[in-house]
């Protein structure tokens, strides 16, 4: 069958199970868009390419599938860059299709030419510049394979205009992948598992430190089994939230800079740390030599380069964390007597709970909104966040129960991520509540996607925690820069209610504590358009507890 490159591309995408693409057209992408016009693949037209990248990312995080975004060449492609870097830092499988000028024009500084594969080298798992139409099937196959296997990540496929418009014979989609320099890790060192099981049996004060790898490898069930069988307390990273039911008595919540005191204290006293699908990020460890100073460390990760990068483990195990936890569970049946350890932790939990106080007069504390959303949706909603104080309050106060219900930019910390990500999640799960918890700074970074949500009748709920500050930066200025609020006051801002209405969305402003429930309940009943809830909160509330940057996680600034 003679087909154009663009038609072959779409056939290959369908063979990979792609049913939706997030994108934005342009000159060099005309050929691909022409093929899309008569394709079964659904295309969601965002209002900015960055929105397309984040939406594809949100779709991938919510479903576990590979997300796909599409842009034109030049500025279209460079607008994807923040989204690609975001996915790369959080190991999210993404295929980023970028149109490119014709092969004959590449390198000539043609109109709307940008070297996107070059630009993206350090922020992708791999990149392809397709030079021949015949190569399209092989490259698409390889790209999906690489994106979703081992440690997942984003792949850029750059598609010159002539490569997409040329016609070649297309037979069937090849099913085999053979890449000499890329092998999928199927095995792990079982001897290490035996040693790890022995350490776990002997431990008196063990802690599990679980991260995003548990979600990527769908190992939450194995994690729960290990924790419950051996009665080991579990703390999660920001990326690991949802891997362990926060209502479980073994849950310590999040650790690190804005973690719970009891999680950080537990790490400080632990004699064994089981680090699963984590990378010992600086926001987790604080000052490295004070992190888990008394603990032997079992480090399980699929990426060998993470072993020993920041912390040298006692027992490294490289491989799929699901398989490894399964093997560990087979060797572990009887819990040790950890009563003393549990008593210590219970005491910390009682003594140092997360806390805030609602001020008299009915003004709103941001934490209170998070708790309200949490209790009203009871673990069924998909929550996305932007980056800043509201993100940390969500991580602290929202009670997550399941993986893939908390979608946030952890590694890169991308403001403007959450709203488009919520669009991707809502496309994947139209029947589940999808709520974007935002700050008033972050929401303005991709506010244009209201147009997308209105066009596709997506009832995403946007809760703006509006303190009219770039709150997290203001908090640091307050604590570490003598209260000099340099360029963090953003009280000049649009009327978000009118703005929502201008786009055709629902807008509400809530400035008293007794208005929260009603507004949220009303928002949850809207089925055909997005809802913007502008919560006016205490302007200078801080995220506590907090480990000062570079400090030991055992010394936290408090609420007082």
């Amino acid at each position: 069958m003679l087909l154009k490159g663009a038609e072959i591309l779409l056939k290959c995408l369908q063979n990979e199970g792609v049913d939706v693409i997030f994108g934005y057209p342009g000159g060099q992408a005309l050929g691909i868009y022409d093929a899309l016009f008569s394709s079964d693949i659904k295309h969601i037209l965002t209002r900015h390419e960055q929105g397309a990248a984040h939406a594809a990312d949100g779709y991938a995080r919510a479903t576990g599938k590979v997300g796909v975004c599409l842009s034109t060449s030049g500025p279209g492609a460079t607008n994807l860059v923040t989204g690609i870097a975001t996915a790369n830092m959080d190991s999210i499988p993404l295929i980023c299709l970028t149109a490119q000028v014709s092969t004959a024009m590449i390198g000539k500084d043609a109109f709307q030419e940008a070297d996107i594969t070059g630009i993206c080298l350090p922020i992708t798992k791999h990149t392809y510049l397709v030079e021949k139409t015949e190569d399209v099937p092989r490259i698409v196959k390889e790209a999906f394979y690489i994106a979703r296997t081992n440690r997942p990540g984003p792949i850029v496929i750059d598609l010159p205009k002539d490569v997409m418009e040329n016609t070649v014979e297309y037979a069937a989609y090849n099913q085999e992948v053979s890449i000499r320099g890329y092998r999928v890790a199927k095995n792990f060192n079982y001897g290490q598992v035996i040693s790890a099981a022995e350490l776990i049996r002997q431990a008196k004060r063990p802690v599990i430190y679980a991260g995003g790898g548990i979600i990527a490898s769908q190992a939450d069930e194995e994690l729960r089994k290990l924790a419950e069988t051996m009665k080991i307390p579990v703390t999660t990273t920001l990326m690991g939230i949802g891997t362990f039911d926060s209502y479980n008595y073994l849950s310590l919540g999040m650790l690190g800079m804005h973690g719970t005191r009891y999680a950080n204290y537990a790490i400080g006293e632990a004699d064994l740390l089981i680090a699963a699908g984590v990378r010992f990020d600086d926001r987790v460890t604080g000052k490295l030599d004070t992190f888990a100073p008394k603990a032997k460390i079992i480090h399980i990760d699929i990426d060998a380069a993470e072993i020993g990068k920041n912390v040298k483990p006692t027992i490294p195990i490289v491989g799929d964390v699901k398989d490894i936890l399964k093997a560990l569970n087979e060797r572990l049946r009887e819990p040790a007597d950890l009563r003393e350890w549990h008593d210590t932790i219970s005491r910390w939990k009682a003594e140092y709970p997360l806390r805030y106080e609602n001020p008299p007069g009915g003004s709103i504390m941001p934490q209170h909104i998070i708790e309200k959303i949490s209790s009203l949706t009871d673990g069924n909603a998909i929550i996305t966040t932007e980056v800043g104080q509201h993100q940390m309050w969500t991580a602290q106060y929202f009670r997550f129960k399941k993986p893939r219900t908390f979608i946030t930019s952890g590694g890169l910390g991308t403001m403007g991520f959450g709203f488009p990500a919520s669009i991707g999640a809502k496309i994947a799960f139209p029947d589940r509540p999808v709520i974007n918890i935002a700050g008033d700074g972050s929401i303005q970074m991709n506010i244009q996607e209201l147009g997308t949500a209105v066009q596709y009748k997506l009832p995403v709920i946007i809760c703006i925690i509006n303190n009219q500050f770039l709150g997290m930066v203001r908090q640091w200025q307050s604590l570490f820069y003598g209260g000099r609020y340099s360029y963090t006051d953003i009280s000049t801002q649009p009327d978000f209610v009118k703005l929502a209405e201008a786009y055709g969305a629902v807008g509400r402003r809530i400035d008293k504590i007794d208005g929260i429930d009603g507004a949220l309940q009303e928002a949850l009943t809207v089925k055909d358009r997005p809802v913007v809830l502008d919560f006016r909160v205490e302007r200078e509330a801080n995220v506590f507890p907090m480990v000062p940057p570079g400090g030991s996680t055992l010394i936290m600034l408090g609420e007082d």
Partner: protein, 160 residues
């Protein structure tokens, strides 16, 4: 600081060298010398890189390099028995009065004179790093006008 000679076998494709060097830059590793060329297999190229750093840095470099899809094999040959070679071209000032002295030094190092100008000579020499450094030092007093040196290439001895 220790130096390691790392031999990397890669797909012979456009952009692969950029991927490798970008990784070094991005992760903050230094490259002391680098050479690239074809191998016995036309689909693969060999990059030989000399990296200063302790064992933990070399371990990270190796692991990070292995994550590049186009990298097929990495061998830190420092601890192996291996042959290493560099090539140097040196243009020295050498009028008639000192030419004989220069030629004598070149002979000692088993180098070759590859060009004779009115009062210059171009000398070619190959050898390991130590030898190349030595010939460079020996000729310095005559006045080196120009010097070009390749990166190191290396091969493990015997059957390995």
């Amino acid at each position: 600081m220790n130096k390691h000679t790392i031999s990397i076998t890669v797909e012979d494709q456009p952009g692969v060298l950029t991927r490798v060097t970008t990784l070094f830059r991005r992760r903050g590793y230094n490259i002391e010398s680098l050479s690239v060329g074809v191998t016995e297999d036309p689909s693969q190229a060999r990059i030989t890189i000399v990296v200063p750093g302790d064992d933990s840095i070399i371990e990270q470099v190796t692991k990070q390099l292995y994550k590049l899809v186009d990298v097929n094999k990495i061998v830190d040959i420092t601890a192996e028995k291996y042959v290493e070679r560099e090539l140097v071209l040196i243009k020295v000032r050498a009028d008639n009065s000192i030419r004989a002295d220069v030629v004598q030094i070149v002979d000692i190092f088993r180098g070759r004179i590859v060009d004779i100008g009115r009062d210059t000579l171009i000398i070619e020499a190959t050898g390991d790093e130590g030898k190349i450094n030595a010939i460079q030092d020996s000729l310095r007093n005559f006045g080196i006008i120009e010097l070009v040196r390749t990166g190191k290439i290396a091969m493990i001895r015997g059957n390995k």
